[in-house]
């Protein structure tokens, strides 16, 4: 395990030093990411200029969801979303070189394309989450603190598992990689709002099949002390870590199946 971590640090460190050679581009990308994701929040604020609640949730409650989901998605985007470049590697034939090295191909993919410039997304969401928490005047019990930490960690793992499963699916869907976006970016977008506003089948498909309802919505029910209009059991918020672990195990297994299926382009 220690060895794996050392390999990761060397590869990711090399990428970071490389990125910083192009400082202006790095800064622009960072700022661009910050702005693009911030506009999603501006859209929420604009909506709340017209209504006072959305599905029974106030602006700061929705901001809490937005921030929590954004931090989790941003972290997974920074550390894992690089798997979406797998189709390019397959087309160019450079994926083969990863397979002859004595380290996991997944580790190499995520480490070599480690993207610290995507930090802008995380920072932006963290600021919104901070503002929401400050404005909501929550009574910080041990349970709430623990649930908040748990929420961010589980959320990051759930989104990471989705990226990895999507990356593995790309071994079959070389050209159709955009399908991934509907579960990754779509999942992130959907979890920014209380999920009971969605139609039943969409809610089930995107939230329960992919597990994204456990990223922010269920933990937030507990932290914000909101009633669940869907009438699901009250232990749902506590399931997030379990969902995260199961999702990661499944995604890892799917990746290994994909690698076994892989045939080089031979070019």
């Amino acid at each position: 395990m220690g060895e794996v971590f050392a390999v990761y640090r060397r590869l990711a460190g090399a990428k970071l030093r490389g990125d910083l050679q192009y400082r202006a581009s790095f800064v622009m990308f960072f700022a661009g990411q910050f702005l693009i994701t911030f506009l999603d929040f501006v859209a929420i604020a604009v909506v709340f200029g017209r209504v006072t609640t959305l599905g029974g949730w106030s602006l700061y409650q929705v901001a809490f969801l937005y921030g929590a989901s954004g931090v989790a998605f941003g972290l997974s985007d920074m550390f894992v979303s690089q798997v979406e470049y797998v189709p390019q590697r397959i087309r160019l034939g450079t994926f083969d070189s990863l397979l002859i090295r004595p380290v996991s191909s997944l580790l190499q993919v995520v480490a070599e394309d480690f993207a610290p410039r995507r930090m802008g997304k995380v920072l932006q969401a963290a600021i919104i989450l901070g503002v929401a928490v400050a404005k909501l005047h929550l009574a910080w019990t041990v349970g709430r603190v623990a649930m908040t930490v748990c929420m961010v960690l589980s959320g990051t793992l759930i989104f990471s598992a989705i990226w990895i499963a999507g990356g593995a699916a790309c071994f079959w869907l070389l050209e159709g990689q955009e399908v991934m976006n509907s579960v990754t970016y779509g999942g992130n977008f959907m979890t920014q709002y209380p999920i009971h506003i969605y139609g039943a089948w969409l809610r089930r498909l995107l939230a329960f099949v992919t597990g994204t309802a456990f990223v922010a919505y269920f933990p937030a029910l507990y932290i914000l002390d909101k009633p669940d209009p869907l009438g699901l059991p009250s232990f749902m918020p506590f399931l997030s870590p379990a969902v995260a672990v199961v999702a990661c195990v499944l995604a890892g297994a799917f990746w290994r199946v994909a690698i076994r299926h892989y045939r080089s382009t031979g070019s």
Partner: protein, 263 residues
């Protein structure tokens, strides 16, 4: 003229080749359309109408804008900046055709394909799930076609000018991302601009970005009937003329001082 027609046909066919990518894109646009529609339904449940929109207008708007995202809505889809970076652009500049017109023909072919293949399916998906509202009068459809055509020209001209910044910046991903962010917001793709607070709506409505997406869709929804159509088309045409002109100026400046990359 024959030449540009052939270039446009090649543009159409080039994009028609990627079938799986088209299906994947339609799926993604549809999913985002559904999510946005449900959010807007929750908003309109609190208020019957906002501006001139009711809930059916808002849902129809959402799916039509998702359909228009690829044909007219997105920046960064042309290869010009890539060709500037690699130096291949020198070949394009050698050709005995107008550089801007050549790329316009190519982009028109692409837009025509994407209007059919990426534009219509998400709207059909929306119509399966929700009640959408479309005009019954042929005049509204003709007005929409006119407004959309100007939107396509404007969208191309803005993209073209933006791509040319690569002559100076080499890496134009930063500017592209910034422009995309501003456009997504001001064009009504993230949220219909009728929901904006008054001052922000005024800025958006008079920007070139609303002329690309919001205005044509409002025309389709019958928000600008009869003579009210004239100012809408006028502002679209004005922005299109400005953008085409800017593109030519930037191109002139670029070709006078340019240093071609590569070797």
């Amino acid at each position: 003229m024959r030449l540009y027609w052939e270039v446009a046909r090649r543009g159409f066919r080039r994009y028609a080749t990627y079938r799986a990518a088209t299906v994947a894109g339609v799926l993604t646009n549809s999913v985002f359309g559904l999510i946005r529609a449900y959010i807007l339904i929750a908003v309109f449940r609190q208020r019957g109408t906002i501006g001139t929109f009711d809930v059916t207008d808002a849902i129809t708007f959402t799916f039509v804008t998702q359909g228009l995202l690829m044909p007219v809505g997105a920046f960064g889809r042309m290869d010009i900046s890539e060709r500037i970076r690699t130096g291949d652009v020198v070949v394009d500049l050698y050709r005995p055709v107008d550089f801007q017109a050549y790329w316009f023909a190519h982009d028109a072919g692409r837009a025509a394909f994407q209007l059919l293949a990426r534009g219509i399916p998400p709207v059909l998906v929306g119509a399966l799930v929700f009640h959408l509202r479309f005009p019954s009068s042929p005049t509204t459809w003709i007005a929409f076609a006119a407004s959309l055509t100007v939107a396509m020209i404007l969208s191309f001209a803005l993209s073209f000018a933006l791509n040319l910044t690569a002559f100076w910046l080499i890496d134009d991903r930063g500017t592209n991302q910034l422009a995309t962010a501003i456009q997504l917001f001001l064009s009504g793709i993230l949220l219909p601009i009728v929901l904006f607070p008054g001052w922000l709506e005024a800025i958006a409505r008079n920007s070139p970005f609303a002329a690309i997406v919001e205005l044509p869709v409002e025309v389709l929804l019958g928000k600008h009937p009869g003579r009210a159509l004239i100012p809408v088309l006028a502002i679209q045409l004005l922005w299109a003329a400005v953008a085409v002109g800017c593109g030519r100026l930037v191109l002139g400046a670029a070709t006078r001082k340019v240093v071609i990359q590569g070797g």
